[in-house]
Symmetry: C2
Subunit: 431 residues, 2 copies
């Protein structure tokens, strides 16, 4: 029997315990696929006192650095910036391949880690860091590497997708839908990372970097969460035959890259509109391949572990057979464009007095700031919605415009005496 490959597993939580289980249950199958057995030489944790169901207690250790140094492959699923960052750096520097699911860590350090990996000949794989079990990192890094990607658009956070679904199907306000998500275990006690769009922004940075061969950090991603979405926004979207999704959008913008996470109206005819509940999906537009979509579970221990294990087999095969995949793909060095220069379509809703000339005055505001209007809908307000003489609502759908021009329109409308205080806008994607 050939000598086992030594695996250091960092982290014994939801994902780590599933990785340990698969390595145990599928040992024979994995050996056949790799050509050598895979053996966990230690499970590194910060707190050895904590109980770890399903993990052999004799493997648990808090001596993380010696564990990493003894390994052929490091699996990092402990999360957080430290000590994960130092351990990954140590492994890559010494030529030890790393598989990680740590999106926060990668979103700030991918360029550095890639350089370390390429300098030492180590592999750095991270399929599980974006969109859970959906193979999207590998298609972008390898399948589409002979093509030119124009745009990557995704639903990358299951919690917010669940909450928005609830608002749409049950007519709930945000707070009510969030509470349901908490009750069902889909949202954490502190849901900020999800509903604020931080989780999606880290993933968007990774996708943008891969798709456009540039260095994009999570902190450079324009980010707007879903906490401000109201029942009125949802109703407006429905009236336009759209749904509302928290989207991550990364696209070529001239020589730059635009990377944004925000709620958006998506036409019901777009494939992303039908992605419901805890599912994730990524929609890719490229020069040669056209439109591709990838759909699957975006989170969960077993699906994430599946993605981790696919990477583990690949790097293990490289060790057995030689070779590695280049990590540094940021040779294009595109800059992240200022959000103001980013272009998309918009829906703007405002309340006005119902008298002649108001529509024209409103439309003039758009024209002044070079925002071209595609359609306008007028509806009449009733009951509680009708306040202070503002008895009609105008819904403008625009052609593509820059964020800065749109912001100027919204600012001027908010200041106008013929417009009520409730001026709302939402980006439209996928049309």
């Amino acid at each position: 029997m050939s000598e086992p490959l030594k695996i250091a597993l960092l982290g014994a939580g939801v994902v780590g315990s599933q990785v340990a289980r698969i390595l145990d249950e599928q040992a024979g199958e994995l050996e056949a696929r790799v050509g050598r057995p895979l053996e966990i030489i230690g499970v590194g944790v910060r707190d050895v006192a904590k109980e770890r169901p399903g993990i052999d207690p004799s493997l648990i250790t808090a001596d993380l650095e010696p564990l990493v140094e003894a390994a052929d492959v490091v699996i990092e699923v402990m999360g957080g910036m430290e000590p994960a960052g130092s351990l990954v750096r140590r492994a890559l520097t010494s030529g030890t391949s790393v598989v990680t699911a740590n999106k926060e860590l990668l979103a700030e350090n991918l360029a550095e880690f890639s350089s370390l990996a390429d300098a030492s000949g180590a592999d750095l794989y991270f399929e599980a860091a974006v969109a859970g079990a959906i193979p999207i990192v590998r298609p972008l890094r390898e399948s589409l590497v002979g093509d030119e990607v124009y745009e990557v658009m995704g639903i990358l956070n299951g919690t917010t997708n669940f909450i928005l679904d609830k608002m749409i199907t049950s007519g709930l306000e945000f707070d009510e839908a969030l509470q349901q998500a908490k009750d069902l275990g889909y949202a954490e006690a502190d849901p900020t990372a999800d509903v604020g769009g931080h989780d999606a922004a880290a993933k968007a940075a990774l996708l943008a970097g891969l798709a456009f061969h540039s260095d994009v950090k999570g902190s450079q991603v324009f980010r707007e969460g879903i906490t401000g979405i109201t029942k009125q926004d949802i109703e407006a979207a429905k009236a336009m035959n759209c749904t509302v999704k928290l989207l991550a959008v990364a696209s070529i913008n001239g020589d730059d890259v635009a990377v944004k996470v925000h709620p958006a109206m998506v036409p019901l005819t777009h494939p992303l509109a039908n992605v419901s509940g805890a599912f994730n999906a990524v929609f890719v537009t490229s020069r040669e391949a056209g439109e591709l979509m990838f759909l699957g579970p975006g989170a969960g221990g077993a699906p994430t572990a599946s993605a981790v294990m696919g990477d583990v087999v690949t790097v293990a095969r490289h060790i057995v057979r030689g070779g590695s995949t280049p990590s540094s793909s940021n040779y294009r060095r595109r800059r992240v464009s200022d959000i103001g220069a980013s272009r998309t379509r918009y829906f703007i809703s405002l309340e006005v007095e119902d008298r002649p000339g108001i529509l024209a005055k409103s439309a003039t505001v758009f024209a002044t700031h070079h925002v071209s209007v595609q359609t306008v809908q007028q509806s009449y307000l009733e009951g509680l919605e009708r306040q202070d003489g503002f008895s009609a609502r105008l819904g403008f759908m625009t052609h593509e415009a820059t964020e800065s021009d749109l912001a100027a329109v919204v600012e001027e409308l908010r200041a106008a005496d013929f417009v009520g205080p409730n001026v709302r806008f939402m980006r439209i994607e996928g049309s």
Copy 2:
């Protein structure tokens, strides 16, 4: 400047000309991605007299063997069994990596080619052979290699998907829809390969082999085309909240693999039901990852060339950096099960006399052959449909049963004196 990698391009048709264009237009980008320039040293064709728009005439040659021998990478997009097969064999035997889009060739020879590649250390990549630009070969070979796939189900032929769509949306009979597909250039003058399911069967064999680590040949795939589908079948599907798709289904069946291509009823709620027109899609169910779907253009020169070029960059990187991906993954050696042992659900429609006891007699036929009925619907026939005293139609939806038990039911019903001659059945998938 580093020395170029020498590319032999075999084939100058729809795909070959697009590959040549991308290699030319994206030369700088591809060099950055690979680390060395890629240079076409010759374009091999069978008929040098034919005009090849977009291809440098000085590169055209019919001396195929010397071209292959001089190359670092062979791109085979000429199609057909010979001379493609001999040329691929020659390349792989001598350690030259091959990228091919030739599904017919691979569906009969993948196991042999893989062994040749592994023996010489060459790479064999074929993303473009299945589902055009959709990355599905790589996810099955690499992303899901740490998981266990249970079932792969796909819409793998755009022509038949277009024809069935037409029948469903416009109420056409098969011949009329086929004519429209021909008029629009979606079907060839001789449409047998598409409508007979041969094209989908070759792709199904490749997917089954990859997913289940076994040797599956196209000729072993159970195959039923769409030529027998009638307006009545479509109406029956609609009445059951289903659509009709030509599906390729490969699944674990005990220790064996079941691989089938046939028209099937698919519930409208299933993601595959919404894949329309010339799109392809593959739906994968695995032990750890759960359900994944991949969607995109299934054919066309540019999309197929995108898939070819992704593979070319990968094998070129292996040449520059060392390493290769193991091709032989048929170590599980699962057998392809007899179609009779394959299990699924069925819809059976029959015409009967409208008198007491007939439903019971019909149901007894199912019970006799161990086929469990889930629902029965009775409708009354009018006008032309009503013939020879058979005035009612029964629609049976079954639980899972084997093909051989179902065949016995259909045979007995066809022979029964209380049943009219028009006994039809269709498999139900994705429910």
